[in-house]
Symmetry: C2
Subunit: 659 residues, 2 copies
């Protein structure tokens, strides 16, 4: 690099302020403030190859402060990625431009994670680093030997999830993680001291981090800090003193540059201030050349890596794992055969453990964990040893009481590739994970959430621990596959689907209490249809009972009782709504025939069940908080027994003049 880094950085500044100005929307302050540090990082430190953005051993870069998206769009364009093109940058924040308001991993190569919801980019980077260290331990330095870099803002650091991410990274001593903190002392509301008085470096040190600082506008200072970060075996926070909106002479250093276009006058003034004569979206050739050259910096390293891969005995397995393909012929058939031969009456959380014993033996890429509920979530199988700072090859993570941090880390692991993360907590604490679950879904990340104690069946812990609204509200999240299996077979079928799914997350809702195994004749994966007829009416069918999870057993008992009264009743198990909704109309109509009286039974919110039972049907559920008592008492108290349900159905049939 012979070009003056300030000139290179000013190209970022110009693109950023011009794109935001053109859109009249966006955040110029952060890209302009961090342009200098980012220039040094991308031109002298980051290992990447714009010609092959998917290079498995590239460094990962996460712009946690995602609102500063023009920073990464500028960097990708300047270093020579195929996208974004200048035209796409011109269309920043317009429909169909990959230069979205916040960086979206599914729109641009080089955007390793979708960021914007504060704190999560950082926390995902922790997961990426875990994946890297794990794969390094498995495949060795020859194939896996890279770093994860983050640019984070004050908002990222103030969010609660940051504490969880910092704690986890410190505990696991993730020295390959380096975070550049854009310490500009400004938030949207004004100066940071409006709302915080924290000594941030001291907090990081308290969690085992290495902290260095630099003047974020002094290139030698930045280089020294990055060198120290790279040299240290601990995760490093690089405290970059910066001025937000650097280059905008009248607004820099103020929150006015944070979240709005600078305005034509200030853009003009900045041009003058930066001695930047080019028209908007027109870059001086020498600067483009210098940037492109920087983009080719790691080409040789990449080529050497390619050679090592080509001759590696691990090549096939490594590539398979990095590409997210399950081993050829992967199947749980043997385990299903065991279930058929030897039915299990177990809680579905236990059934999940049984399935995982089979899965973890077949899939070396799974990495399990729990947010301090290992014995309750049944997430740890026998063969798994812990992943620790002494041994990253372990496949089980004690995440601690960090539900959100765990979920975000799992997103990062899935995005990194090479591993399939799953992690557990109580279903009620899906609320704590929810911002990360949403990002799993948006990013299409293969993460499996193992959420146990999925209803009032949790019992004595009471309403704070009993999910009521959770199953239904999770079904609302686009691209999230929510499973509520009814027995050991459906649990294994759900697991199989979750693992085979490559384009998004799955979430398993599992019981604390034992459930009988309902099927022994096993063929096609029944859960793959989302819903299926588990019991066919004996008498003329007048009722179809729809149920999920632990209430399928109750529905079967109710059906028996109805048949005793001469009322024919189907029972449909509906473990996964989104899969059922994707079936063809004929299948759906067969399962939910027009002329039958439909009754849903689920120990949770009824709102939503109208989709299947219709306005004349009956939705039996729980639209209030639960209570503390043994599970059986609660099922009785809230009417989830055949004795309580059957009279309601009979009365409804009568009222409809149907009897």
């Amino acid at each position: 690099m012979s070009a003056d880094p300030r000139l290179l950085a000013n190209a970022i500044r110009a693109l950023s302020m011009d794109a935001v100005q053109a859109a009249n929307s966006g955040h110029p302050g952060m890209p302009m403030g961090m342009a200098d540090a980012a220039t040094i990082l991308f031109t002298e430190y980051l290992k990447f190859d714009p010609q092959d953005p998917d290079w498995h051993d590239r460094d990962r870069f996460v712009l946690s402060a995602g609102h500063g998206s023009m920073l990464i769009y500028s960097l990708l364009h300047l270093t020579g990625y195929a996208h974004p093109t200048m035209e796409e940058i011109r269309n920043f924040r317009q429909l169909n431009s990959p230069c979205a308001g916040h960086p979206e991993n599914f729109m641009l190569k080089g955007v390793e994670a979708t960021t914007g919801p504060l704190g999560q980019g950082f926390a995902m980077a922790v997961g990426m680093t875990i994946a890297e260290r794990h794969l390094n331990a498995v495949f060795g330095d020859d194939l896996v030997d890279h770093r994860t870099w983050v640019i984070a803002g004050d908002g990222d650091l103030m969010e609660g999830v940051n504490h969880e991410a910092v704690g986890l990274a410190g505990h696991l001593q993730l020295g390959r993680l380096n975070v550049l903190w854009d310490n500009n002392k400004i938030t949207i509301d004004g100066a940071t001291d409006l709302s915080t008085s924290e000594d941030i470096p001291a907090r990081y040190r308290a969690s085992g981090w290495h902290v260095v600082s630099c003047d974020g506008h002094d290139f030698d200072s930045i280089r020294r800090a990055l060198d120290e970060a790279v040299a240290d075996p601990r995760p490093t926070l690089i405290d970059c003193s910066t001025i937000i909106g650097w280059g905008a002479p009248n607004k820099m250093g103020t929150s006015a540059t944070h979240g709005a276009a600078l305005g034509a006058d200030e853009v003009a003034a900045a041009r003058k201030h930066l001695v930047w004569d080019s028209e908007p979206f027109d870059l001086p050739e020498p600067i483009v050349t210098a940037w492109r050259e920087a983009g080719r910096r790691s080409a040789k390293t990449h080529e050497e890596w390619r050679v090592r891969l080509a001759v590696s005995p691990h090549r096939e397995e490594f590539v398979r794992r990095m590409e997210g393909r399950l081993p050829q012929g992967f199947s749980l058939d043997e385990y299903f055969a065991q279930l058929a031969a030897n039915p299990q009456k177990v809680a579905t959380r236990k059934a999940s453990e049984l399935a995982l014993e089979a899965i973890n033996a077949l899939l070396p890429e799974t990495i399990g964990g729990s947010a301090d509920l290992t014995g309750s979530n049944n997430t740890k199988t026998n063969a798994q040893k812990p992943l620790t700072k002494e041994d990253y090859s372990g496949r089980y993570i004690y995440y601690g009481i960090r539900e959100f941090g765990m979920s975000a880390a799992m997103n990062g692991m899935a995005l990194h590739g090479g591993v399939i993360p799953y992690g557990g907590t109580f279903l009620v604490f899906a609320d704590y994970c929810r911002p990360a679950i949403r990002l799993s879904a948006l990013q299409g990340a293969r993460v499996v959430y193992v959420m146990t104690h999925d209803s009032i069946g949790l019992g004595e812990d009471g309403p704070t621990h009993q999910p009521v609204e959770h199953v239904m509200s999770l079904r609302m999240i686009p691209n999230l596959a929510v499973y509520r299996p009814a027995d050991a077979v459906e649990t294994a079928e759900s697991w199989a689907l979750a693992l085979e799914r490559t384009d998004g997350p799955s979430l398993l809702c599992l019981t604390r209490q034992n459930l009988p195994q309902l099927r022994r004749e096993l063929g096609e994966n029944a859960v793959s249809r989302g819903a299926y007829r588990l019991r066919t009416a004996t008498a003329a069918r007048r009722v179809v009972l729809l149920a999920t999870g632990s209430e399928v057993e109750v529905a079967l008992q109710a059906a028996e009782a109805l048949e005793g009264q001469g009322i024919g009743a189907d029972v449909v198990s509906m473990p996964c709504w989104s899969l059922f909704d994707a079936q063809d109309a004929a299948y759906r109509a067969d399962i939910l025939p027009e002329n039958a009286f439909k009754v849903s039974v689920e120990a949770g919110a009824t709102l939503g069940w109208e989709r299947y039972v219709g306005p004349r049907g009956l939705a039996i559920g729980l639209d209030r908080f639960g209570a503390s008592a043994p599970a059986e008492d609660l099922f009785k108290r809230f009417g989830f027994t055949a004795e309580a349900i059957v009279p309601r159905i009979v009365a409804a049939l009568k009222a409809q003049g149907d009897q």
Copy 2:
């Protein structure tokens, strides 16, 4: 206190292990480990009066580690509260016992907050302390001069929300907050060092806290630490070194005591170890007497306070506020009259600000704030000065980028009483707040959530910032009133209802974009019915359009277009589902007539709308993530225009042979 504190503490231990043993469910380890420190706190420091648990100037005590609920049940019983009785303790964790698995504020006086979801008790205590300092600033030492005490476990401290709570408390220098940390080095999964390596005192100091430590089983050490905590002007973390399950000779110090009954043998061994001869639930008389005496310790202080209150010029206003009554004759009529006279075409977030200008002038008890989006949430009104460590009388809190911490703090403020908190963030970040929103609802706390940018109407920030599933999934939370007003009038009506509601939280979903004012003739609060007919069909009614918020305008345009084709169409605005569902059948049937074709229009998840449109109706919504573009482009792209909607309705009518 002449009794040996160890004997007093052992009464807690005995009750705790016996109650858990009887229930065969619960957490004996924490109450047994913290019995000594809690005994000193309750018998020598805490200001409270079991004869009048609602004494406004009592100290607040929050058991953040709520799983150790037998600790607080024991303390309440022993100090002489009317409840729990010994019979109720015997029925620990059984249906209808107030001694629920986790402490529920609605079941027992003396339980200041519902705890169990980790981290939140602590964070609510921060809010309680803010309320106390604020009321102290307003009403003076004579009426308000108390402390907030917390017992927190490692789980509370590891949760992300702890970082937010600690940061806020440190920034506001809440010296009246003292937290006893049950530092027993054990979590459910095992030793804390399985998952964390943090220097916790250093972290607290980094946020401006005072930290002291003590041996949690040495009474003089505990006293010294509490004295230092009380003397220091900063919030204090009291690091209590304890042994979990202290007294159970074979299991103490291990996670085996954490979350399960000790077992009959170990209970017997503990009796021997503690030299405790009494039968389960039978307490030695001298010990009961000593505890009861301790319970009367603050009676004189209470009486003196009563006298001061009786003669205080603030008496009436203070009592009104503490009892949560709005001022007599409170009404927004004047503001409504202004809206009638001078209609406002504004975003509903701006309409909320306009309403708040009126409200904040009339209600001195409101305390507003935002998680660093003040200018976007429009939460700050002109007259509000900030609440700061220098001036607690302020009525606006810059919460920082701490959505969850803000929400939990608001719960604490509402539970403390005397203030009505409201706070803002973007609706999409309701996910970050969700665990606290659930606790607002469960606890019946009057908190108002001001959630702006409530759909793809947010525009360019893109899918990470665009709520899709949020409005519907919030409707699932029991006891949460969710409002999505359509204009300035409905926004003010929603605000009026939120303030008048005393038994739970309200959440306002507000637009970024401008909306026309739809009503000028104002009478009854139309939102109070949940849904109402905004437009009556001119031609014979065949269609009823149901919409909320910004889509009401679209529905009105669609209705006009339908009428142009001779198709009569009502438009129903449905700002609050829970209020509509509470209307009588006749009203509901009038609004949603059987024979009309029903169409819902809401720029969010459709799942749930079947409740009102039925299986033959049409739910127009958004069941995928949004995109980054100007709002108008997105409304067009996703079909939320009359031009897009009308043909779908006409086609559906045709398909149904209805035309």
